[in-house]
Subunit: 371 residues, 2 copies
């Protein structure tokens, strides 16, 4: 059973079945326009991360504003975007399972498809799959620029790039230099320091690749928290922000610096009050299965004095200040998710609102694409 | 796009595409048998909570062992189980939206269907829907027995039961008395104290219903953390445990008392190592979209000296002690989810293992049934 379609185009807000994933289309378009303009002005390539929305309809809006393609994070997510006609998809992750590499190599006959490598074994596995399929995969050497997750040390990038360039079915496409841990540093100073340090590591990796006899045409990375820094670095030439389309409570806690753009909160989980048992407490229908809690509780939007206090599987407990208007049974509550990406992954449908009317219902085509 | 089927019956473990939700069928059956035997011996009714598994195949195993029906937590979840032929489904939640009540009342023409009420308005809305559909809904008055979530105060149960009994389309079916907050109290003493206090509130509610001139034939509640206490209480006569079928890291932190049954860990997220960038660190393919993190990090099963350290959307960072065997690229890692219910909701398929072979692939039919 797929998830019920929560609304139809033309419906008023009150007709949306809750909980639902709702996007304010004006805010979404503001965010899309602002990022596209900011990156275009710098002459850099914009390749937004589609793991945030998993929605080809949103990818098309990004491509229409000049994005060179999208990033994905999983094999089946990438294939969902290839299937939707996106001409250039970069899977910003290592893939080593032969079955997944076969699917990717097959997709690379229809669109340009890239992936990351940070090991000789990974490069060989990808090469074998592409050679078998008669296709070419863009292979980016991932460099650990400070996140402490995947990636080779800068000094090892040259040898791996050379190895990639020597293998059939692979094209050495550039360096993947993403500092995930820097995105949610709260102050502009802390983010600037982290990206300055990452920049040194990128330069070292680039130098190692040059020494290995190869050119690096693309250095790709950056996210919604730090992209103005990579843009200004003179080193990165492709930016991958994802969450900027939606925003969330956690990104909202980042203090903005002089170079930052204030994106609008476009994503909400629309919930309804199902119980008002005692004064000061109401319970809504959005809990642990309707919102991701890894980055904290959701915020209540547009209702002063009301806070989302705790969650169980299918309940959200709301606390109302004594001074606030009490919540009524059936009343709609607008929640700003703590973390947009894993929240969007809980929904099969995005409801797009224009004012107080449903103007679009988009499938989250890559929802649950874990493999 | 539905989620890819991760395996076929007969496949060896190594052929399962990761990340996958995997159940050890021997452990599952042990848990099903142990709970069925423990409740049958007491003469009480067992109505397991299906929100944990959302899987009709598992519900059938519960019914075959004597369960009177299942509990669900959402309208479309309940309908998924009615559609699968479960003859008696109790939605342990308030439902006040007319569209949802219409669907429930329609389902009540095919199976016995119950729901909770804790307000006059809720009772009237359910009555209207059932009367329109020409069906009968079992209405349970929810009593707050200590969880501080939904439910009326014990003294108000009589008036609401009477109101329910007076309305067309509703049958006063009993009292819903679930103490969710007690399930994860760590010591047997703390759980015993919480349920002793809840028992007093149930008795008060029952007395209020008697004074209102009605009989209470069913008092339903309890969960995996406390069910032996409700079973021994002489007050509850129907038990609703859910997580016992799977278990998880958080329930594993409960210290067991003399009356408790040690359920086996039956649920795992099977992940694979995709990167081994430096000694002591490996990265696997299961992150925030493959596991729920509301109750903490997953545990690594069967691999001493390896710990799941942190997650991002699609990465899990694993730390290996210096003394432990290093993780290899492509190696399978068995993860015990922090919280089983919202983790199972991330998957469309449950892979059932018998030893090291896939013996079943079950659809998670109510995955994503938020409405």
């Amino acid at each position: 059973m797929a998830q019920r379609i929560p609304a139809r185009e033309g419906d008023p807000v009150d007709a949306i079945e809750t909980p639902a994933l709702v996007v304010d289309l004006d805010a979404l378009e503001h965010n899309l326009d602002a990022m596209a303009a900011a990156v275009a002005a710098s002459g850099l390539r914009l390749r937004p991360h589609a793991k945030s929305h998993k929605c080809p309809d949103i990818a098309r809006l990004q491509l229409a504003r000049g994005a060179v393609g999208v990033c994905c994070q999983k094999t089946d997510e990438a294939i969902a975007f290839v299937d939707a006609g996106v001409p250039d998809v970069l899977l910003t992750n290592e893939v080593v399972a032969p079955a997944k590499l076969r699917r990717l190599a097959d997709a690379a006959r229809r669109s340009r498809v890239g992936l990351l490598v940070d090991s000789d074994a990974g490069a060989r596995a990808a090469s074998a799959a592409a050679a078998d399929a008669g296709s070419v995969l863009d292979a980016y050497v991932e460099v650990d620029v400070g996140a402490g997750r995947c990636g080779v040390a800068p000094g090892d990038a040259g040898a791996l790039a050379r190895r990639v360039a020597s293998l059939p079915g692979l094209r050495y496409a550039g360096l993947h230099c993403y500092h995930g841990a820097a995105q949610h540093l709260r102050t502009p100073q802390a983010r600037a320091q982290a990206i300055a340090s990452a920049r040194e590591r990128v330069l070292a990796a680039k130098a190692a690749v040059t020494v290995a006899g190869l050119d690096t045409t693309v250095v790709t990375g950056a996210g919604t928290g730090t992209w103005p820094l990579e843009r200004a670095s003179g080193v990165w030439n492709e930016l991958q922000p994802g969450s900027y389309v939606f925003m969330d409570a956690d990104y909202g806690r980042n203090a903005l610096g002089p170079g930052d753009v204030a994106f609008a909160q476009a994503l909400f989980v629309l919930a309804s009050v199902t119980s008002t048992p005692v004064p000061g407490r109401a319970v809504c229908d959005a809990g642990l299965k309707a919102l991701a809690f890894d980055s904290g509780l959701p915020l209540v939007h547009g209702r002063d004095g009301v806070a989302y206090e705790r969650a169980s599987d299918e309940h959200g407990v709301l606390a109302t200040d004594a001074a606030a208007r009490p919540l009524a049974l059936g009343e709609r509550v607008w929640l700003i998710p703590g973390h947009c990406d894993p929240t969007a992954n809980l929904y099969d449908w995005i409801v797009g609102l224009r004012g107080d009317r449903v103007a679009a219902v988009w499938p989250v085509a890559a929802r649950g694409a874990l493999a």
